[in-house]
């Protein structure tokens, strides 16, 4: 059985949707991120980097990195149908999954933890503003890839879509993002309406785009 260390409003959402869609048996261990439990000895023994999510595999191997979890599950459950098999489509899926993790998620961290990106006591505001600008540019690039939509591969949901929708939901001004990028809004609508993904979305307390728009 898999064991997912999770907390609301973290990247664990992407791992959990992947586990659920693949039909993998798992148990969730909630780490109280708001209360700082991810910085306490018990959790640091599991993941010394103090980040969430972490995933223990059935063989005991522990992994970090939300995108690596998605790739692992895509590979472990090839028949799930939630990851493309065709070479050209896989290239597209890899590109946007890595983009979501290395660019979108990382830029979100820059405004969520702005003070860590500068040694100046009053530097956080400048970091935050740069991150806001940058993420809006990144979303305009993602929107291009969401044609015709609503998902990256048209009507077919893959493990990529909930990942990207999750980072969109963390946007510093979601109503504005939805207004500026209708295709991102359409992705959010489709992901939250998905019968398997919607309930997880709500449990992770991610905002609903319909209310935002």
């Amino acid at each position: 059985m898999y064991k997912l260390y999770w907390s609301k409003r973290t990247g664990a959402f992407a791992a959990e949707t992947a586990l659920e869609l693949c039909g993998a048996a798992f148990e969730g261990v909630q780490v109280d991120h708001k209360a700082g439990a991810h910085r306490e000895a018990a959790y640091l023994a599991i993941n010394p980097a103090g980040q969430i999510p972490a995933l223990a595999l059935p063989d005991g191997q522990l992994i970090t990195e939300s995108a690596a979890m998605v790739l692992h599950l895509a590979d472990a459950y090839p028949d799930s149908g939630y990851w493309p098999m065709d070479t050209a489509e896989r290239a597209v899926a890899y590109r946007w999954l890595v983009f979501a993790s290395a660019q979108l998620y990382e830029t979100d961290l820059r405004y969520s933890y702005a003070d860590r990106y500068t040694t100046a006591p009053d530097g956080a505001e400048g970091v935050r503003q740069a991150a806001h600008r940058h993420i809006d540019h990144l979303w305009s690039i993602v929107a291009e890839a969401l044609t015709p939509g609503p998902f990256f591969f048209g009507e077919e949901l893959t493990l990529l879509d909930p990942y990207v929708a999750m980072v969109a939901a963390w946007h510093y001004d979601l109503p504005r993002l939805c207004a500026a990028e209708p295709r991102v809004h359409a992705l959010l609508d489709a992901v939250t309406a998905h019968p398997a993904v919607g309930p997880i979305w709500r449990r992770y307390e991610l905002p609903m785009p319909a209310l935002a728009a």
Binding site: E65, A68, Y94, R95, V98, R116, Y117, G126, A130
Partner: protein
């Protein structure tokens, strides 16, 4: 004949690992040096104005160096650089993602601090120094967890994840110091440099590890 891979590159950039893989695989490829990342014609290829960009033989355009590594794993399942066995795959993907999300970003923060703050020159210096601190912290985690026991991320067997790590290490402000305080990373770098194709690609990219 199928089209060659086309790799857009600049010296010192993340294209290094992709070119090394293409050479090691014996994949037909051509490389296109980008003179100006902000030029209209390059922005039409990648609106973010970043390298690497890889065009596959079927015309699909990719950005994100780690995604290219994953794609080349798929394309060359038998290559030396491709992990073998489920546990190795899982480990390789984890550390590849760690390197690209965390360390690549921390190096970008050190070298392109202007993208990380709207502040003045002084504010950019403060962002740079935070980036350098983060780089050191991340290598510590990497050495303790990914290189235990080493010498490679997958133990005795090389993979492209090692080349990715060596590339990032070569970007360090002072690689000699880094490899001294992180000796297992030093052994990994040495083992990557000992591979027959590495030296020529390092030289092309003007990358190295100091004295």
């Amino acid at each position: 004949m199928a089209n060659p891979y086309r790799l857009y590159w600049t010296p010192t950039s993340g294209s290094f690992v992709v070119e090394l893989m293409l050479r090691e695989a014996g994949a037909p490829h051509e490389t296109i040096q980008v003179e100006d990342r902000r030029a209209e014609d390059f922005l039409a290829v990648n609106p973010l104005g970043k390298v690497p960009v890889l065009e596959l033989p079927d015309g699909t355009v990719m950005t994100e160096s780690a995604a290219m590594v994953l794609q080349l794993f798929d394309a060359y399942p038998e290559a030396d650089f491709t992990p073998q066995g489920a546990a190795s795959w899982t480990k390789a993907r984890r550390w590849l993602m760690f390197l690209t999300c965390e360390l690549y970003t921390a190096y970008q923060q050190s070298y392109h601090s202007e993208h990380f703050t709207v502040g003045s020159r002084i504010a950019r210096e403060e962002v740079k120094s935070a980036g350098r601190g983060r780089v050191r912290e991340l290598w510590k985690i990497f050495e303790a967890q990914a290189l235990d026991p080493g010498p490679f991320v997958l133990g005795e067997r090389y993979s492209a994840v090692d080349a990715y790590a060596a590339m990032l290490a070569s970007w360090d402000q002072s690689p000699e110091v880094l490899l001294t305080i992180r000796p297992r990373l030093g052994s990994l770098v040495q083992a990557v440099c000992d591979r027959p194709e590495t030296a020529a690609v390092l030289e092309k990219y003007r990358l190295g590890f100091g004295a």
